[in-house]
């Protein structure tokens, strides 16, 4: 792939328009991190396996390592920086902390975005549905139980 030819376009990330000028073959992950400077989104496997790079595209989860940045123009991109509400943590963030679902923290942004998308389409998921919703996100520390509990606790809170 020739990566030398550049292309200028705008990406809307967390409600803000960012003009970028990057190679046509650049993935969305590297543009979000290196051009826009939002480093909450992580590069793990860089191969569509681990989910550390998860972002939302018009509300749907996408592996940003394997999505062309140029193809995301005109869509609303949400990163972990965008789920926070002012100075308040999103309930998912707070509950993952409180349940002990964070150890090294590398998978956490991707987990939060997958869980965010899941709760948007299913407000009271069963444990099995949470596990399916998070099935594209690997965590090598926690054993998942506490992350799943945090998502279910968030669903209960949002219902109350």
């Amino acid at each position: 792939m020739s990566t030398s030819e550049r292309i200028a376009f705008t990406l809307k990330v967390n409600g803000t328009d960012y003009p970028v000028d990057v190679e046509q073959g650049r993935n969305l992950l590297s543009v979000i991190r290196s051009e826009i400077g939002l480093t909450g989104t992580k590069e793990g496997c860089d191969d569509c396996e681990c989910g550390a790079c998860m972002v939302l595209l018009d509300g749907q989860p996408v592996n940003s390592c394997s999505y062309l940045a140029v193809q995301a123009q005109g869509r609303a991109i949400t990163t972990v920086e965008g789920v926070i509400d002012g100075d308040e943590m999103h309930p998912l963030q707070r509950n993952i902390l409180e349940e002990g679902g964070v150890q090294c923290g590398f998978c956490t942004p991707g987990m939060i975005l997958s869980a965010h998308a899941l709760l948007a389409r299913n407000s009271s998921p069963s444990e099995e549905e949470v596990r399916i919703g998070l099935s594209g996100n690997l965590c090598r520390c926690t054993g998942y139980a506490k992350i799943v509990a945090a998502v279910q606790r968030t669903a209960t809170e949002l219902h109350a």
Partner: protein, 297 residues
């Protein structure tokens, strides 16, 4: 080098005629480029915004599924997940929620992997694929689309626009099961789909079996000789047939011998599950868990 976003199918066809490669979800194209399988094409036309190719339409003959319908839309579609179960089973097993949201049915079949999870479901249900170019439309049985691993009979300039499935008919349904080593982000080690129609006495009225990842393309058999036989005997026959007909390869996921043995197991379970559905039993999508594949969480 170019990148354009098509706003209409005609715009997409014009770009294809000029030599561009279509990109929908990009889940095969972009990952494949990074693996060095094939460089990212220099000229791309994004087709993911063509809403006219995202509809599932029930017709007199059956159902028409737009090429850009996502796996997520298929696995959650009430009609597809009840009457065309094998396809919903297959789409529900693809990748992860992220893969299933951006990955499309058209992309899956045009990528022409012998391990595709929607291929065997489509052949056993009698699918036709519709291709369009600036010269017009043509439809063909989907088996005629695949000519080898990663190869199709689509001509330059042709875009897959829809997949058409006939009505299953009374007391008929289907199932797709696959052998997997983990429950997500997995590719079929082997897989099997079955379409079963039952006679009033519960014997086989129609049986077709499709096999995944055991030949250069999806292998499909119409087992007409099983008509009138009990389901259990037909399932056993399907297992034997699968093991005899397959021509698997050894690769990083499995050996020839393991694939040959397990595709028989998958074929038997697919026939049994399809027959249970044909008899009216509701089995959750994907059927894999109900037939004992993959540990319970």
């Amino acid at each position: 080098m170019s990148f354009t976003i098509a706003r209409t199918v005609d715009e997409a066809l014009a770009a294809l005629t000029a030599g561009a490669t279509p990109i929908a979800g990009g889940t095969d194209l972009v990952v494949g480029a990074r693996h060095g399988k094939a460089a990212l094409p220099a000229n791309l036309v994004a087709i993911d915004r063509l809403d006219e190719l995202k509809a599932v339409v029930e017709t007199k003959e059956g159902v028409s599924i737009g090429a850009l319908v996502s796996h997520h839309a298929i696995e959650t579609h009430p009609l597809l997940a009840s009457a065309y179960c094998a396809l919903a089973d297959g789409s529900a097993l693809v990748g992860s929620p992220a893969t299933r949201h951006v990955g499309t049915l058209g992309g899956n079949i045009m990528n022409a992997s012998p391990a595709m999870d929607t291929g065997a479901p489509l052949t056993v249900m009698g699918a036709e694929v519709e291709l369009r170019s600036t010269r017009g439309n043509r439809r063909m049985p989907i088996e005629q689309l695949w000519t080898g691993p990663g190869r199709t009979s689509a001509e330059p300039g042709e875009l897959c626009v829809a997949i058409h499935l006939p009505k299953p008919g009374p007391k008929a349904n289907s199932a797709y099961v696959r052998l997997e080593y983990r429950r997500a982000m997995e590719i079929a080690v082997v897989g099997a789909a079955a379409f079963v129609a039952l006679a009033d006495d519960g014997t086989i009225a129609a049986l077709r079996v499709g096999l995944t990842a055991v030949a250069p393309t999806i292998l499909t058999c119409n087992l007409v000789e099983q008509i009138g036989r009990p389901v259990a005997a037909a399932a056993e026959h399907a297992a034997q047939m699968a093991m005899e007909q397959c021509t698997p390869i050894s690769d990083v996921r499995a050996s020839v011998g393991y694939r040959r043995h397990t595709v028989g197991v998958m074929a038997r379970r697919a026939v049994e599950a399809a027959a249970r559905r044909a008899a009216g039993e509701k089995i959750a999508i994907p059927v894999n868990r109900a037939v004992g594949i993959g540990a319970a969480s």
